[in-house]
Subunit: 344 residues, 2 copies
DNA sequence: CTGAAAGCGCTTACAG
DNA sequence: CTGAAAGCGCTTACAG
């Protein structure tokens, strides 16, 4: 069967069929007040019958509005990221925007490349979570001069734009305070080596909670790693457990690190939470699958995504003449489970 | 600071600056053989200096090639889906294509809507995993007449196009055979009620393995559910365990259902795998976090994604005049872990 | 109420 | 080797 691709029907074809001008057909379809009701009805009827669908490419090209948003994230298959993406897709769709997604793989070079192509494709705005160790912000600024950008999750104060984050510091403070209230005294932290925005803030919350409750800061139980994975959570926990004075609680700044911690504790038959309590960060699916279930900070990914889209579209619709660094904080909740308040 | 958005530089501006025609500038940048080396150098130098980036929208609009691929999946934050997406993004990028992603949320109406917008946006091709209970295939066919489509994962033989799947039947056969070889005799299955392609195939593999090894098919230990979740895996396992004659193994057609099964077994203190062995399907992250670690079928998501892109781009570049239903099977591996071959 | 025409930024057959 | 012109499908100020 020969199926050389059908072309989509165009305004021109509609116009010919109806003996009208292209302009009139265009206006009729857009419900322009100038056009008579009869004409509108004729046009719309035929358009429906012929399955006319406007070429958005042409329209966007004409009007400089493409109704496309670009999204750049370090890793699309990271659980938390994918819930944010879900929120972004939903909100964008609701408002009639399509979304182009790409991955920077935590490479700054790639990130800049993506930023440029997004711009070339004429997206109306860009949502971005920064690659780790983003330093050459000037390239980002360059694109920012051409198209609105909203940062989320991995943000940087060096980029003057709207930034959507969670209340990192406060969330960490609450998590650590929860442990303190349970009577824990030597609370270790597993964090990132690099000064990522998130790690820094969570660390700050940890320090503030200790200070606030008059607990000393002990260098030895502050552990860091480049790649905050299950394996490294495990490794660092083993280091913590080999200390003369073991911690009685571990606050890991990600669920994965916390799960690694639990695995390490299991291996040594250390009771959770009685001997060592564990708290994570993210409320990933894993946190309910691990035994005991993990106490963790719920990060509402879809809310972050939706909020980011809202602010971005707002900026698209109402271009500011001012560079504004606005930080929007999304609230989180501590979800207490057996790894800190266990009954077993 | 006033930052009214900068416009991108255009061919016209380059041409004016250089006292050349737009055509010449265009050709120089595209390295057209007609243009003299000196001119090319002049043009390219200025282009670089002024950070010229061609408007891909205009180019695509002109040439009817947009270098955009559309992707439609039921649920973007489903783990397996997100690894496929990763593969898609990587392969697409490698070949110079951008990717627009959207979610059908398992709604057929939404799926058709997305298909239409993708087409309107002028994507060069579409990658799609079908929504559950997709019945009105005619709308898909309608779009298929206009733009190449490649299906993956959730496919349907009713759509005559390239389909990328895993060796579902064989994988299930191997999984069940593995249980039989371990000496299991009453092997239950937890599958989907609806006749989804995947569930059907896995069920067929289950039946074939039993037949092949001379085991009877027992209706009572064949359980189905609409939504194959952790909760339902748990529920159905409880039903299985309440039978006079309990199964000695459970083959769940998804990891989530298998995890639910393990949770149910735990609750009743039933030994895994000695009393009841469990096998899942997907090799999700969860499968290594649950205790005992889950024996499961590894589905190479990124391979599926990459392969789908390859076939799609191939069709874009070499439009066929024939409707071809081609099924490409990606091989999987059974990953044996403690839930079937445990040492504890 | 309707139409002719310009133009969005690019490519490319045609002419010289 | 270079340029003028058409055209991709649409919208919209201008004219009538």
């Amino acid at each position: 069967m020969n199926v050389s691709k059908k072309r989509n029907i165009t305004l021109k074809e509609l116009a010919q069929e109806l003996n009208l001008s292209i302009s009139t057909v265009s206006r009729a379809l857009n419900d322009h007040p100038d056009i008579s009701i009869e004409t509108k009805e004729r046009v719309q009827k035929l358009a429906k019958q012929l399955h006319y669908a406007p070429n958005l490419f042409a329209r966007g090209f004409r009007s400089h509005e493409t109704y496309m948003l670009g999204v750049i994230v370090p890793n699309i298959s990271h659980m938390f990221t994918s819930t944010i993406l879900k929120g972004i897709l939903e909100e964008a769709e609701l408002r009639g925007y399509r979304v182009i997604i790409s991955e920077s793989k935590n490479s700054e070079t790639k990130q800049i490349e993506m930023l440029r192509t997004m711009n070339q494709f004429g997206v109306d705005g860009i949502l971005m979570s920064l690659a780790r160790k983003t330093t050459r912000v000037d390239e980002v600024l360059n694109v920012l001069e051409r198209v609105p950008i909203v940062l989320f999750d991995k943000v940087s104060s060096k980029v003057p734009c709207t930034q959507i984050v969670i209340n990192e510091e406060e969330a960490a403070f609450n998590a650590v305070e929860h442990l303190i209230e349970l009577g824990k005294q030597r609370i270790a932290i597993i964090k990132e080596t690099e000064n990522s925005y998130n790690s820094e803030k969570r660390y700050a919350g940890y320090l503030r909670a200790l200070n606030h409750h008059g607990l000393p800061i002990r260098k030895k139980i502050i552990q860091s790693t480049e790649d905050i994975s299950i394996a490294n959570g495990r490794r660092l926990t083993n280091i913590l457990l080999s200390l003369k004075k073991r911690p009685d609680a571990i606050f890991a700044i990600t669920d994965n690190a916390a799960i690694g911690a639990i695995k390490a504790l299991h291996k040594l038959n250390i009771k959770i939470p009685d001997e060592v309590a564990v708290v994570g960060f993210s409320n990933s699916v894993n946190s309910t699958i691990i035994q005991p279930a993990l106490t963790t900070v719920d990060q509402p990914g879809d809310r972050i995504g939706r909020t980011a889209v809202k602010f971005l579209i707002d900026e698209i619709k109402n271009p500011k003449n001012e560079i504004v660094t606005k930080t929007v904080e999304i609230k989180t909740n501590l979800i207490v489970r057996d790894s800190s308040l266990g009954t077993n």
